[in-house]
Amino acid sequence: MTEAFDILLQTSFWVAAIRIASPLIFATMGELICERAGVLNLGIEGIMVAGAFAGWFTVYSGGDLWAGVLVAALTGAAFGLLHSTLTVPLGLSQHVVGIGVTLLATSLTYFTYRLALPEVTSPPKIEAFQPLPIALLSDIPLVGPALFAQTPLTYLAYVTVAVVAWALYRTPLGLAVRAAGENPSSVEAQGISVTAIRMGAVMVGSALMAVGGAFLTMSAFNSFFFEMVNGRGWICIALVVFGSWRPGKALIGAVLFAAFDAYQVRLQQVTGGVVPYQLFLMLPYLLSILALVLVARRATYPKALMVPYQKGER
């Protein structure tokens, strides 16, 4: 029993927790922006797959690491453009289009991978982002290495949360995005196009989802393989609800979830194979469902979420 508790005091556990949280933070922020503007983006899972591949493939073909991140973001934005063109001006079902974008992004990625590397059996590795300890801060016991001895992409994830929170609550653009998700006609009354705001939000959000995917190939596994995203996108949708559509709360949710995920892996080793390992692997998904049940009653969805907007319609 003490072994199970000791895990919590291991530095390596907290380092792993923050590393696992990083891709979730990017993708959760991306989904949060979309939903705050009134668009549910179920393309998230596929966009993460596409981002994971785009970033990895750029570096594999000789590109710079940051160029890989940029290419991933642009790939995500392109799928965001597709998603938002269909859901915003054309007002198609966000459920169906989202699933369609996920299927399309995933299959296009697999097709491209097979085309580019027809003969490969074990996926090739790249020189990925390396941990970059920040002087002094990373010397703090336990917290230091966990928060400040990560790769630059993790630091970018912290910055993303701060920027998203600041932009949503402290800028006129953020106000317009939030209003587009709550009361779109008030946005139109300001002379701002709801269509433009929503499409922009979905493209920016999708770019972040793709960077989240790219984290997996460029800062965690260092290579691309099929089914590597493995439901992380859907978990991020649950995290947005859990975080009540607020960047700070969603960040806490992502870190808690990641800590739990890192914990179950270590607990597996402690229990030494008595309990089937699949039960541990199920826990993160079941936890997400449980979290949804707990918050669902008092969840305050953006009022215009999934409601298409038509100019001049009341």
């Binding site: 299927l103 299959s107 027809p118 439901g231 649950a238 699949q278 692997l281 997400s288 469902i289 949804l292």
Partner: protein, 349 residues
């Protein structure tokens, strides 16, 4: 730009727009074929030949269409009532598990009793699996999209656990697979020497049954009313939550029958690769069919043809078979767009 409703579309437009959707899909696929350095015309020729070029090919396509009819029906029923069941994959596996549990010798019964019994229990397992998310939706307001999606991942881990545990085949040389079904639990082949089995007939009967329920019964009317406008349905005194739960039971049961049919008709045992995404393809099938149960049969055969044809094509032409998945996903997006354009006129000013 604005969208204005059109008057009821004529027969010509009803045909024109879906054809346009398919044309765009073929165009996208052609670009990918060109990217792969092959000739689109010859590649599509090979796909067509692989899907329907011979009696063997045609039977393979119908065999592949069978589980897609079940999952397509499951999605069509659920989406009609705006119950977003994205978990047909998990429900299919639930049916498959029950088939193996009851069909490997636990019940020494003749086939005529055993097969219907297994089918009923398989359907019940799938129904129960979707009932969970449906109850969470109506009682707690939990979005069923996320819960059904997440349960797909839980279910595949659960199957993996069973196949390495209680359901493991002791003679399977360590592979994660179940024991073979006993002969009485196998659905017979329709033509000897071909893989097409009576699961296909069960799928056709199910499609007809669902069509009758949707068109001719009060429940079908209520499901459509709830899907069209839940507030209005509630206001008119319909028990909306009860209707949603019934929808979930039917939908989950249909998907699970797909698992029963695959195990009892085709594979004979349960493995982790029983379904290469039949649950997700079912969404495409249902949308292509515009949620019409009889249309699901046609759409499932069409989608199955793409998969079977692309498999055959990729062996000879060297274009990755994932092109089938791209075509199916593209067809989904172009089709929903076509349906919208059929009903609304886009005004740019």
């Amino acid at each position: 730009m604005r969208l204005e409703p059109k008057p009821a579309p004529s027969l010509a437009t009803t045909l024109l727009f879906p054809v346009g959707a398919v044309a765009v899909t073929v165009l996208v696929a052609s670009l990918l074929v060109l990217a792969a350095g092959a000739n689109p015309l010859s590649v599509f020729g090979l796909v067509l030949k692989g899907a329907a070029g011979s009696q063997f090919a045609l039977m393979e396509t119908l065999t592949r269409a069978t589980p897609l009819i079940f999952t397509g029906l499951a999605v069509a029923v659920a989406f009609r009532a705006k119950l977003w069941n994205i978990g047909a994959e998990a429900q299919l596996y639930a049916g498959a598990i029950l088939t193996v549990v009851l069909g490997t010798g636990a019940l020494p019964l003749p086939a005529i009793v055993l097969l219907p019994l297994i089918a009923i229990f398989a359907a019940l397992a799938g129904a129960m699996l979707l009932l969970g998310p449906a109850v969470l939706k109506v009682r707690f307001g939990v979005d069923e999209v996320v819960t059904t999606l997440l349960l797909n991942f839980v279910m595949i881990l659960f199957v993996s656990m069973l196949l390495e545990g209680v359901l493991k085949d002791p003679t399977g040389l360590g592979w994660p697979q179940s024991q073979k079904l006993i002969a009485e639990a196998r659905l017979p082949r329709i033509v000897t020497g071909r893989r097409l089995h009576y699961g296909f007939v069960l799928a056709l009967v199910s499609a007809l049954a669902v069509w009758i329920v949707m068109k001719k019964t009060t429940l079908g009317y209520e499901m459509r009313a709830v899907g069209h406008n839940p507030e209005a349905a509630r206001f008119s005194g319909m028990p909306v939550n009860r209707i949603l739960l019934k929808t979930a039971l039917i939908s989950g049961g249909l998907a699970a029958l797909g698992g029963f049919s695959e195990v009892a008709g085709l594979k004979g045992n349960l493995t982790l690769d029983l379904s290469p995404g039949f649950g997700y393809s079912g969404i495409v099938v249902a949308m292509l069919a515009m949620l019409n149960p009889l249309g699901v049969v046609v759409a499932a055969i069409f989608v199955a043809g793409i998969f079977v044809g692309a498999d055959a094509m990729s062996r000879t032409a060297g274009v990755p078979s994932y092109i089938a998945n791209v075509m199916v996903a593209t067809a989904l997006l172009t089709m929903v767009t076509a349906i919208m354009l059929m009903r609304f006129r886009v005004r740019w000013r």
